[in-house]
Symmetry: C2
Subunit: 254 residues, 2 copies
């Protein structure tokens, strides 16, 4: 339970991380804590207490019997008075929850959402509690009978999906939007880029319009829970791309 | 206290209203409930229970001894499972808090924020719990020694301040940004426009670049708690504009 004056609850003032735990083993937890620590700097919150964060995460995992868990660590700016200004010093609150997270079966059907990513805010590059634009874009996807939505930024360039980063392959080059397109630096995004390079594959972080997806040979989504997931509906490919299997193996996606 | 699985807390999925109560009397409460009800439709949440909302508001007011109160009514999308999709049916949660709200003394010093308003999302026209962009813009104002920040939209047009609507007067015409610039339909904004018209003053809802503020004769901010507040730092005017006093009286700002 959390206080009714908490700024995370009242104003979306805070951060979260979602990570995978399989058989009690946390996946790349240090990278997730690094990202939350960086988010604290962007928001002007006190330095992340990594020990406490790990304690919350481990407790949440220990409380669940399932083998494959999605663990969510939440950090709020804590309770404050009325209005937008934080109290000084802020007293952040942290908690973690865990729930069974099955790997989704089959490809994700994609649409392009009308709701866009606000690349004109630092919030577009952190994993913040103010997630409503992504919820609205996801609702567009569901209303169209799809699973996920591609969010463009204010300039109309591809940014990401509502809960994943996006990649596509064209002419054997692996492409994903540049971070300054309003993109969260996904942990799995970074792992996939590194794995592709170690496999000798050409990679590019790009500024691209949605037509790049239409003419691609494969589109896929990444996040820490799904690993790599083929996407259909926008690119030319339907079946599972062999490169995708190789990348999935290279990042040891579980 | 609120559940740790609440989507308002985890994802900023919900709405709020802030209204004034003076000596136990609620100011334009029906207009605030209308706006929250409209927000529920935008978000796909169940019809607002207005009776319950009023009950929460009245309880919050009764619990505070101060004469002039800011009352905050919060509606969250309620608890759900992991991920962005809401449970069906959603089970919204509602609560209200009240706190002393003194009218700010003197004019507000304004800057123009780098952080912008996402006019490419329906969230820019509702009062949602995902308020982080406004917090970041407010932090820019504080870092510059100012009180409030003007937020532009993705096209660089004036939208609003971080917790207020913005007006300016040029050539005796009262101007404020059009709602489709990414602007919340402020209750006080609507009252000021109506009052100006009833005083025989020309009004325009406009699409305007920030230079419009620089060449204006007066700039002021409005919201339900401050009423009308003169702003300095961007326009030519320094003292209190006589039109402002007239408008303030006409809307019976308390």
């Amino acid at each position: 339970m959390i206080d009714l004056q908490d700024r995370g609850l009242l104003l979306g003032d805070g951060l979260f991380e979602t990570l995978l735990a399989v058989d009690g083993v946390l996946d790349h937890v240090e990278a997730h804590l690094d990202r939350m620590a960086a988010g604290c700097e962007v928001l002007g919150l006190p330095t992340l207490d990594r020990g406490l964060a790990l304690q919350h995460i481990n407790q949440a995992v220990a409380a669940q019997p399932e083998a494959r868990l999605g663990v969510r660590l939440t950090l709020t700016a804590g309770s404050g008075g009325r209005g937008l200004d934080r109290p000084e010093p802020p007293m952040p609150q942290m908690f973690a929850t865990a729930a069974a997270a099955a790997k989704p079966a089959g490809p994700a059907a994609l649409i392009i959402a009308e709701t866009r990513r606000n690349h004109h805010s630092a919030s577009s590059q952190i994993k913040s509690l103010s997630y409503l634009d992504n919820i609205l874009a996801r609702r567009e996807a569901r209303a169209a009978g799809a699973d996920e939505a591609v969010m463009l930024n204010g300039r109309g360039e591809i940014a990401c999906a509502t809960a994943a980063n996006i990649f596509w392959i064209t002419d054997e080059v692996l492409r994903t939007p540049r971070l300054d397109c309003g993109v969260l630096a996904g942990i799995m995004r970074g792992r996939v880029l590194a794995a592709a390079q170690s496999l000798g594959m050409a990679t590019q972080e790009v500024v691209a319009l949605p037509k790049a997806l239409e003419v691609s040979d494969a589109v896929f989504l990444t996040n820490s829970l799904i690993g790599l997931r083929q996407a259909v509906g926008l690119g030319r490919a339907q079946g599972v791309n062999p490169v995708l299997s190789a990348l999935s193996q290279a990042v040891s996606a579980r």
